[in-house]
């Protein structure tokens, strides 16, 4: 873009030819539409995962640019509610004679100042935290939903979606297990998703600490009927 010498009057736009201004205007409108579309689509999603057709159409139109420029974000920080944390516990099989080696990531040592943590620097601790959150976010039950619609077309679409989601979860989980196995001398590793909820204000006032063992629970890989992932 050309650098334009300022004139004394505002707005001093005359240094830029009309055709350049039109071109730049078109480009900024298209770019901002591409920035707006992913969070709009994300916000318009229903509980069933369907987004507004307008948002879907806009997303399809801008998808190459959105994906290539890393603009595919929902910006739902701590939304709709600040929820529980998700962690990963791993168990390394040390052979028959020894107890399995157990670890959790992200890893916190309660005795160390929280601002320092154990996975250094703090941003790296947060990367491990995000890996654990990401595994949970991709969790899909091993069996397809049992309340499939009667329409063959819809059923096929739901099954295809379930297959894709389940495969994503499995490749991610396997990748984590292989990484942990590699850093522990190739021993077999099993990972379990953990959920750590915050105590309610009443529980906290009643003496429950924010790292109370009762606030942790193992998340099942197979869901019982009616249970949400």
């Amino acid at each position: 873009m050309a650098t334009v010498a300022t004139e004394e009057r505002a707005p001093a736009t005359s240094g830029l030819r009309l055709r350049w201004r039109v071109l730049i205007s078109v480009l900024v409108v298209l770019h901002l539409a591409a920035v707006f579309t992913p969070p709009f689509r994300f916000a318009s999603r229903s509980a069933q995962g369907e987004a507004s057709p307008v948002a879907d159409a806009a997303y399809r139109a801008f998808q190459p640019y959105i994906n290539a420029a890393y603009l595919d974000h929902g910006y739902f920080y701590f939304a709709p509610n600040p929820g529980p944390s998700h962690l990963v516990r791993y168990e390394v099989d040390m052979g028959e004679a020894r107890e399995p080696l157990v670890g959790v990531f992200p890893h916190i040592e309660p005795d160390r100042p929280r601002i320092i943590g154990t996975q250094q620097p703090r941003v790296i601790y947060h990367r491990h935290f995000m890996l654990a959150e990401s595994l949970h976010a991709n969790f899909t039950p091993p069996a397809p939903p049992d309340d499939l619609p009667e329409s063959a077309e819809l059923r096929q679409a739901i099954l295809a979606d379930w297959t894709r989601r389940r495969e994503t979860y499995e490749v991610l989980k396997t990748s984590f297990e292989q990484h942990l196995s590699a850093i522990h001398g190739g021993r077999p590793v099993r990972i379990v998703r953990l959920e750590h909820r915050q105590p309610t204000p009443q529980e906290f006032l009643g003496g429950m600490a924010i790292d109370d063992p009762r606030t942790y629970r193992d998340l099942p890989e197979v869901l019982s009927p009616g249970e949400m992932p």
Binding site: A2, T3, V4, T6, E7, A10, P11, A12, T13, G15, L16, R21, I24, S25, V28, H31, L32, V35, P39, F42, P64, I66, N67, A68, Y70, H73, Y75, F76, Y77, F78, A79, P80, N81, G83, S85, P106, I108, R114, I115, G117, P121, R122, V123, H126, R127, F129, M130, S134, L135, T168, V171, L172, S175, Q178, H179, I183, Q198, P201, F204, I210
Partner: protein
């Protein structure tokens, strides 16, 4: 009828004039340059941090292997040169190259070229490291994107220093820092992008009942994994938790309206510093909190940025400014007034 047509025509003319003023008024590059130094510094730190754990995240046995990373982006247009990298030697070479590029961006060395490289490299890391990304990376790439658009190295950079030194050696007058349309467009895009981020952040929170019943902040502060400084003592002031939850909810949702008028802008930006400063200090996300504050600098007029930075640096004016002839200085003052007027959304025409 004629009056109606004329008023519609006037309205369109006003819209065009406002559009022209908003996008095409040349702006000084100082705000963009400050964002380059801080944002470039954050990009440098973010990527230096990977160095300590590079093999765990980018090596052959990484948390998310390159094959898995690539497969998770299947059917998208995402790209990353890291998907082609298998050898540890090449991995280290590319990583060191990226760190050097981010350092050059921060210092303003060949800024026009390294700004493009920095954005490409930052995006390549984000796509490769899927699963480990969070708001910091979204903000880093947002800032890097707009640093490519404007003359981010026009001041407070090695580029500027070299240009001045070259001119002095050749016995020529040091080149003046010129306002440019590209500096304005870059800052405008960052401002609008930020408004979209906050709008949807606010809309997301509007859908949660905890933000409405006033307990959201408790659940954020009582999160053991995020917490860096204990703030759970706030439970003894539940009204304060509820007030802060409500203020956050409304500030974030209405930021895109509050940040434009001159009267409410300090409130919107002051709240941004408090909220993001709080996230940095109490919730362990120092980098993300700071990166968002750096992005908010886009709303500081360049003249104010220049004045603040130069005051902080302990000098009121540069030597080459003093050497300007009186008439040119007078013209510069008029330019600054014009630029300030254009910055205001309701500037007198």
């Amino acid at each position: 009828m004629n009056a109606a047509v004329a008023s519609i025509r006037d309205w369109f003319r006003d819209v065009l004039r406002a559009w022209n003023r908003f996008w095409f008024t040349p702006a000084q590059p100082h705000t963009l340059a400050l964002i380059r130094i801080l944002g470039g510094g954050m990009l440098l730190y973010t990527h230096l941090a990977w160095t300590l754990h590079l093999s765990n995240f980018l090596g052959p046995n990484s948390w998310v292997t390159r094959e898995v990373s690539q497969s998770l982006h299947q059917d998208t247009w995402a790209w990353s040169y890291w998907w082609l990298v298998d050898s540890p030697a090449l991995m280290w070479t590319l990583h060191i190259a990226a760190v050097v590029v981010f350092a050059m961006l921060m210092l303003g060395v060949y800024t026009r070229v390294v700004a493009v490289l920095a954005w490409l490299m930052a995006v390549a890391y984000c796509h490769r490291l899927i699963g480990a990304m969070f708001g910091l990376d979204t903000t880093n790439t947002m800032i890097a994107l707009y640093l490519m658009v404007g003359p981010a190295g026009a001041v407070w950079s090695v580029d500027h220093w070299r240009a001045r030194r070259g001119a002095e050696r050749a016995g020529r007058k040091a080149p003046d820092v010129q306002p440019s349309v590209s500096a304005n467009v870059a800052i405008r895009l960052l401002q609008l992008h930020l408004c979209i981020v906050y709008l949807f952040g606010g809309i997301g929170k509007m859908r949660g009942e905890l933000w409405w019943d006033g307990s959201a902040l408790w659940y954020a502060l009582a999160n053991y994994e995020y917490q860096s400084l204990p703030m759970t003592w706030l439970i003894h002031a539940p009204w304060l938790i509820a007030l802060l939850s409500a203020v956050t909810l409304f500030w974030e949702t209405f930021y895109c309206f509050l940040v434009w008028p001159r009267l409410t802008r300090p409130i919107a930006l002051g709240m941004a510093v408090l909220v993001h400063g709080g996230i940095a200090a109490f919730m362990g996300m120092i980098t993300f909190g700071l990166a968002m504050i750096f992005a908010n600098l886009a709303f500081i007029p360049p003249e104010m940025t220049r004045s603040c930075v130069e005051r902080l640096a302990g000098r009121r004016s540069r030597p080459h400014d003093q050497a300007q002839p009186a008439r040119q200085k007078q013209a510069s003052k008029k330019q600054l007034r014009a630029s300030r007027a254009a910055w205001r959304p309701h500037a007198p025409r």
